[in-house]
């Protein structure tokens, strides 16, 4: 597992940052985000918490070895769930990759919270984890297959050499009785 984290502040009030959050893309420095779709949204009539589920489409060239190994394409999609809670003045955003998720997960958490009437703290953590269970089961299958192949070849080797020996010595006996 690999871990990433950072925190810094924006010199804007929390409400301005949270309003701005919905206008983050497109921006000229993040051209890798090419599409954003809201697939679910609810406003809790009790707590006022807004939950939004979105799918972000990204285009980013992967290194050739990754494309070859995993068959990835240029298009990658991410599921993002955010909660805006006006009562606690917290926004939490959780994102996880949909593409290549059978091989590895990238789990990101972001939080926006006020530090003063004019400043907002941004904190972010990310965990990248290969799906070890999958690697283990793939490695296990590979080993089993290799052992079976080895056994088959060993059997063939034995019976093949038996034939060679018999033919060789039968011939020699015939040649010089």
């Amino acid at each position: 597992m690999h871990f990433f984290s950072q925190a810094f502040q924006y010199d804007h009030p929390w409400t301005h940052v949270v309003i701005g959050m919905w206008h983050k893309y497109p921006n000229s420095k993040c051209t890798h985000v090419v599409s954003i779709d809201t697939i679910d949204r609810s406003v809790d009539p009790e707590t006022g918490i807004i939950r939004t589920e979105r799918v972000l489409g990204c285009k980013q060239k992967a290194p050739m070895w990754i494309v070859k190994l995993f068959g990835g394409s240029e298009d990658a999609f991410v599921r993002e769930i955010s909660f805006v809670d006006p009562a606690t003045q917290n926004v939490t955003i959780t994102s996880v990759n949909l593409s290549l998720s059978q091989f590895a997960t990238c789990y990101e958490q972001i939080r926006y919270s006020p530090i003063s009437p004019t400043q907002t703290l941004f904190s972010q953590t990310a965990e990248v984890q290969a799906r070890m269970a999958l690697w283990r089961s793939a490695a296990d299958s590979l080993e089993k297959w290799l052992v079976q192949r080895f056994e088959q070849n060993a059997q063939l080797g034995k019976s093949g050499f038996t034939d060679v020996l018999r033919n060789l010595w039968e011939e020699r006996h015939r040649a010089s009785p």
């Binding site: 309003i19 954003i36 006022g48 799918v55 996880v96």
Partner: protein, 101 residues
Amino acid sequence: MSQSLSEECTPLKQKYDSCFNSWFEGYLEPAVAASQSAETRAAYSKKKADEFQEKCGKVWEEYKACVQKAVKEKGLDKLLAQAREENPLTEPPTHPPSSGQ
């Protein structure tokens, strides 16, 4: 304004986003102010949730139908179902990144 993953949904998406943003910009600051007590918060939340439905409900239904179809066509519906099963995230996370680091 950003694009939809499907070109044909982009006009509906942008209409929906504009509707949400204009509602949200009127919602947020009073929502913070209304959080002084549970009663005022619930009264304000209920009123604004109804207002959102009234203002954006129709375009949302149209956009949702379009995007759901596109999600299916891209084969993302299965991946989404799997991700939702692994982590429904119906509640705010209990351990968000901590502040003040």
